[in-house]
Symmetry: C2
Subunit: 422 residues, 2 copies
């Protein structure tokens, strides 16, 4: 990655653009504020403020580095989760092959920070974006982008946009859909073969493999997910046999979100040898922060505890502004601040005057745009002015509500700030 | 407002920070790109891209200016909706008294652009934020901030934070809750009186009125909402009679979201005279863009069509990237791009090769993080590469997913870019 672009993030000014940061830090650079090692609770931060655990982030980065190495998987963690170049850098330092992304804007962000290998886990048929990709490929021989195709029309649109502009072909993988009614991806091996033929017929594209997303297998369970992954591996073998990978030195076979990477590891380990070395590419992204809801329930580490356990790295701090009855309280975080698409946040701890106690008897029952609705039982010890620490569910819709996120040690010291680009 | 701060928005560089903008505009200033008067469909914009209708924005701004003037209401449109200083400026130019906001961070944004009157429609008990407010009040004699109190403890926390630092008192209004189980606000007139007494006992605060939010009246209907608003008006009269507004030249009575401002206009018009002039302050925010879902159903203009009709100003353009079966299609906008808390987006039009047709037979059935799920009937004319224009529901959760939004004329010309700060 481009170290000077990353370094410039520390030179950015702390100001009104960034929620939750101390008003008295206005005008400092991010680097200067980080160097002050402020305390989260006494350092002038305002609520609501989302935080990342320094220790849990590091733990999760190491955990998946170890996991993927143990299972001989290449790793392109999904960058759409965080859209944070500083985390991309740490993921690459922890052995990642590259970064996965979903839409052209995200590729632009990654390229602004010099990411060299990008796996665009989506179809890309936008002419303006393709012309830009072609220019990036032309300008930087070490840049590699792989994207999906799942229709002959898509191949035609890509070729039309790239004709004349592309100096080297764009690498594509055929996407195999995860089943009837599932998301993108061609539905049958025959359709995939037809698409591969179409790719072979245009000079602007080069077929380098197959990919899919087992997270969309209908009524997913271990058996159905493995069946789909075996179909994906079989598709690679079939296309290889038909000579479709003649123009590449390496065949890419990619799958793997954050709920079934144990099945991916197992099925990919059993895959037959192909005519060329195979890059078995896992794309999980949510692991980097993990969560207290959706992925807490779904992480494959629950099935293989002997391989480790991710730790939730987010905590959203919000202040109680109203306590109108013994049964109700309201805090100042809302839909603008917390993920709410899979679960509501979880009340975890209450911080008052430097001391913390468990959020016993406190439940989040709703979110308005700018308020957290809390139900409280007789057990709850909660007053106006208290800060509540909330756990979140779904990293992707947590990161995207914050542009500069304090990274906090367990002792409350803020040691860094993570910039996101959504 | 500070014209130089607004002018600096046009000097910002177009780059990877802003979704949907043309890659070939990288490095231009926003002002330079606006001056190019690009066409939305041929100008190199990438999908997904959220747009604002220039004509509908202007229509809505005028509509509420006329409406509030006709009903003799002062207007502090809720700025949390857009968090766009350029729109704040236009709202003030269209006669607004000030801007309503919800949390201290939003006040910081407004102050960075020189908003002089801020109605903070929320309790504020954060010591760091209060110290910053006190410094702003001290530095600028023409800055006025009014915020809520709804508890004696809140009054004590505010006073403790402001003691020593405040050169003039912070203006507060007592918030009357909208009913049992409703959101913030003291539940009874007796509790409100107790809070008013507490305010009178501290030198750092000055009571200037009452406020509430009729949008949270339980099982809201016209009758219940009017009953609550009459309680609010009666509270103002009671506190006035008890001498609580002795220190202010003007009494503030405020209510009014975007679903019941006709009831607010009616009840406020019938309010009795008080000992001082009354600022009857409406706070509606969603009108500025209106929408194609929630507010389309709820706008009071449906009950008073003779007073006008707001026009939906958002359209989210997304490209079809996959069409795996005759019954399914997938576009590249997802939860990162579209509001999904009240309704899913609505497929409105299909744009292909410069021509547009109605999105007949096309329904949005779901959103992934980065995909729109579309169900298509036999009537649907939809292919990979087409752009679909989606209507949205809920302006607040639409604006907050975009930092720089093209403003487009009906003929497709992009004439401006609106910057948001979330």
């Amino acid at each position: 990655m481009r170290r000077e672009a990353l370094a410039r993030l520390a030179e950015e000014r702390v100001d009104h653009r960034f929620k939750g940061l101390p008003p008295d830090a206005d005008g400092l650079t991010v680097g200067e504020l980080a160097a002050q090692r402020r305390d989260l609770f006494t350092g002038g931060f305002t609520t609501p403020v989302l935080t990342l655990s320094a220790e849990h982030l590091e733990h999760n980065l190491r955990l998946m580095q170890t996991y993927t190495a143990r299972h001989q998987l290449a790793f392109a963690p999904h960058g759409k989760t965080s859209m944070a170049p500083q985390l991309f850098q740490r993921q690459l330092e922890h052995g990642a092959w590259g970064i996965t992304l979903a839409v052209p804007h995200q590729v632009r962000v990654a390229r602004a920070f010099g990411v060299q290998r990008i796996f665009l886990a989506n179809e890309l048929v936008d002419a303006a974006a393709l012309r830009w990709v072609a220019a990036e490929l032309a300008a930087d021989p070490s840049f590699r982008l792989v994207c999906y195709v799942d229709s002959v029309r898509g191949v035609e649109l890509m070729d039309a946009a790239l004709r004349g502009g592309a100096q080297r072909p764009v690498d594509v993988v055929v996407e195999l859909g995860a089943g009837e009614g599932a998301r993108t991806g061609a539905r049958t091996q025959a359709e995939c073969a037809r698409i591969a033929e179409a790719v072979a017929g245009v000079p602007t594209l080069r077929l380098v493999g197959v990919a899919g997303y087992e997270g969309e297998v209908p009524q997913a369970d271990g058996e159905r997910v493995r069946a789909y992954l075996r179909r994906l591996v079989a598709l690679a073998a079939e296309l290889d046999k038909a000579g479709h990978f003649a123009r590449t030195d390496e065949i890419v076979v990619s799958a793997g979100g954050s709920a079934w990477f144990d099945a991916v590891a197992e099925v990919f380990a059993a895959a037959p040898a192909l005519s060329r070395p195979v890059l078995k590419l896992l794309r999980s992204g949510a692991y980097v922060t993990h969560d207290d809801g959706h992925y807490r329930e779904l992480t494959p580490f629950n099935r293989v505890p002997e391989e480790g356990a991710p730790e939730p790295a987010f905590r959203l701090w919000t202040q109680v502004v109203s306590r109108p009855t013994a049964a109700q309280a309201f805090a100042n975080a809302g839909k603008r601040d917390a993920a709410y698409d899979l679960h509501l946040p979880f009340a975890q701890v209450v911080h008052r005057d430097g001391a913390e106690h468990a959020a016993t008897g406190i439940t989040v029952t709703g979110l308005s745009d700018q308020h957290t609705w809390l139900a409280t039982t007789e057990e709850a010890d909660l007053a106006v002015g208290d800060w509540i620490g909330l756990g979140l569910s779904h990293p992707c819709t947590s990161f995207d509500k914050w542009q500069l996120i304090p990274v906090v040690r367990a002792d409350g010291t803020v040691v860094d700030y993570v910039r996101t680009f959504f």
